[in-house]
Symmetry: C2
Subunit: 411 residues, 2 copies
């Protein structure tokens, strides 16, 4: 039972919400979405991919052709499994990570977010334990809350999540008689820490989880946005196709506006995910799926992706250089090999500080590190996204962050 003031500050009627409502948390990225559109602010919060340099005319021509030639079909209902033309496109992407999949494994979704929702819906009862990296993706934490799971986080070092820490967490849950619904991992260029799980650790993690009968949900939207020279490692799914669910997305390599991603899972799991998905949104947009199928995998897309990856690397460099130029003592950041983010830890600031509020005071928007943990973290931290900022805004963002830090430290 909850009550709340409404938009005008007047008391809203008493409503009886489901118990899970008390766990609903707006993602800090989404909560400031409108604010970030105000040019007064520099936002390093949203993990937006570069869409300005996409070949808009070419994509327009694809959409135009699909609507003219197959309008009745692409404007109609589609299958809950997705359109057939996407199967080879997805299978080719997954093959580049060592996995062999076909229609029996694949389910098209509106993106990784829905993948996390459906996996949790299928696997997690209220009160179950979910293991994830610490820090982890804030959007996944929203899902875990909505399903009333108890999130336990496993520390991440430069090589990703450690097998021993996972084993310890699994053993603890067993001692306590608690069920672990699944292990949630972002193996490439992790959001938010930017670490990539090494191949050796992938092997060990898969082995530990298989032995304990715990499924791995591998959320892998950044696999293909490694900086030049950083191609994807074998997926956890490829190392044990029966042991988990792989979530893929076209949002980072093409367009988040399309809302097209996928899940790969053992057939018995995949079939249940489709039923769960159909009850959530029936099927993803047919037009979007066909646009993706016609563009992703083409030479033009490969060229765009190469340029994107080089561009992300450059932007990352600009941001890291700008951070270094601030000459702040006790501020450290991760050095990404791909992805969208760097994770900045800040000594001499209380980890419990509301860093988003503090940043907004300086016309800066960031994702506060504390939002990526279920408990107060050891160190104050922020996630900075460089993926879609201009060099000027990245430099200005670093400058404003330094102001925030100095101000919080009373310097």
């Amino acid at each position: 039972m909850s009550t709340s003031p409404d938009a005008d500050g007047a008391a809203a009627p008493r409503r009886h919400y489901a118990r899970r409502e008390s766990e609903f948390r707006p993602s800090p990225v989404r909560a400031v979405f409108e604010l970030a559109l105000d040019p007064r602010y520099v936002s390093l919060a949203g993990g937006n991919p570069g869409t300005a340099d996409l070949p808009h005319e070419e994509i327009a021509a694809i959409a135009d052709r699909l609507l003219r030639e197959r309008g009745a079909e692409v404007l109609q209902h589609g299958s809950g499994a997705g359109v057939h033309s996407l199967e080879p496109v997805i299978a080719a992407l997954m093959a580049r990570q060592g996995a062999s999949v076909d229609a029996r494994n694949l389910l098209i979704t509106t993106g990784s977010q829905m993948g996390v929702d459906l996996a949790t819906k299928l696997l997690c009862d209220p009160g179950d334990v979910l293991l994830a990296e610490g820090p982890t993706y804030v959007g996944a934490m929203g899902v875990f809350g909505a399903y009333e799971a108890e999130l336990r986080q496993v520390p991440v070092d430069a090589d990703g999540v450690d097998r021993e820490a996972v084993e310890e967490a699994l053993a603890r849950a067993e001692r306590e008689g608690r069920r672990v619904a699944y292990l949630y991992v972002i193996p490439h260029h992790q959001n938010p820490s930017s670490t990539t799980l090494t191949l050796e650790r992938r092997r060990r993690l898969v082995e530990v989880c298989a032995r304990r009968g715990v499924l791995i949900v591998e959320d892998d939207p950044y696999a293909f946005v490694g900086f030049p020279g950083n191609d994807p490692l074998p997926s956890l799914f490829s190392l044990n196709p029966d042991g988990g669910i792989h979530l893929g997305s076209l949002s980072k390599t093409f367009s988040p506006g399309m809302r097209v991603g996928w899940m790969a899972a053992p057939p018995d799991v995949r079939d249940r995910l489709q039923i769960a998905g159909e009850s959530v949104d029936i099927h993803p947009s047919v037009l979007s799926q066909e646009i993706v199928a016609a563009y992703v995998g083409t030479p033009s897309w490969r060229e765009h992706l190469d340029a994107l990856r080089a561009g992300y690397a450059q932007r990352c460099e600009v941001l890291l250089d700008a951070l270094a130029e601030q000459g702040l003592v006790g501020v450290r950041w991760t050095r990404p090999s791909g992805g969208f983010f760097t994770w900045v830890t800040i000594d001499g600031v209380d980890p419990d500080t509301d860093l988003l509020a503090a940043a907004i005071e300086h016309d800066l928007i960031v994702v506060p590190g504390s939002s990526c943990f279920v408990q107060v973290p050891e160190r104050a931290a922020v996630r900075l996204a460089y993926s879609n900022g201009s060099p000027g805004s990245l430099r200005e963002g670093a400058r404003r962050l330094a102001e925030v830090v100095r101000s919080l430290r009373g310097e």
Copy 2:
């Protein structure tokens, strides 16, 4: 804990699924989606709108322009609230049903299905009672199952659901100490019975529910596809904007392939629905939303909608005439004033018969009436869709249905 044979019939590994998994039911429409594409079958199952007569070139030109002129934006992430340009479009539609809404009430979704999912996520704990019409929409039943609600159905007559029956069900739940999460109603051209709730009954229903503090979830995708002369009645939401959630869809009046619909709710409820929605799919497709915003409400769309409505009325006539021509005794059907379906009851056939399997034997696909009830219904019935069939297929469908009936009766 469930086990199941996999696609090859071999035993799949034992998996531990969430408890709700035992309630997952594939919709019969979705389960036969691929089969229905086989030209051997006549399908009167899927409630597909007419998309063949949409002005494909005009829509192609809209998409083309959006992608060329605003490519970086429509291919990028959008707000979880939806794009601003849709607000006046939706507000105008709702005004035609007597409701006054703005951004504080509105949330864009991927369609009514997601609306049912989010409303249930927000309002319904496992074991709560949900009231709905009997028969009701199979896709909503999938949602109710996924949230482990106990569905109780209230009979429908020619004027829709009856206030007294609802009052009785509410009183019973109260006596039993059971919470009623909400009342689910499809007020126009109900799926599957094709009845429309009269204005008098709307008023009474709203009053009863307000008195008991039970929210109404009004799923209203068919409001604007009444046959010529059948314009929408005031929405339940318009009669008590604080008492419920209105679900709207552009799938019936424009395109289900776009995946764009909306929810309207009191602001305190709406804000929670947005948080719930962002954790499911972040936001609906920006490109789809902008296409809808640019087309729906234009003179061209109004012309298309008029033609659609006339076309649905004609197709309905063809199907009802063809049913009459079969001369079956003890077979009755509803006479729609709009929407996509007629509900056919069949005397002399066991209500527990698997009518889908029986129909498939005769190369016909229908939605079995029993799938629209949580308990075995009083009468054997099928839902027939005329919305997207050719006159030939509608006639052939009626002929095959007659075969099915005669065969089941041993005639």
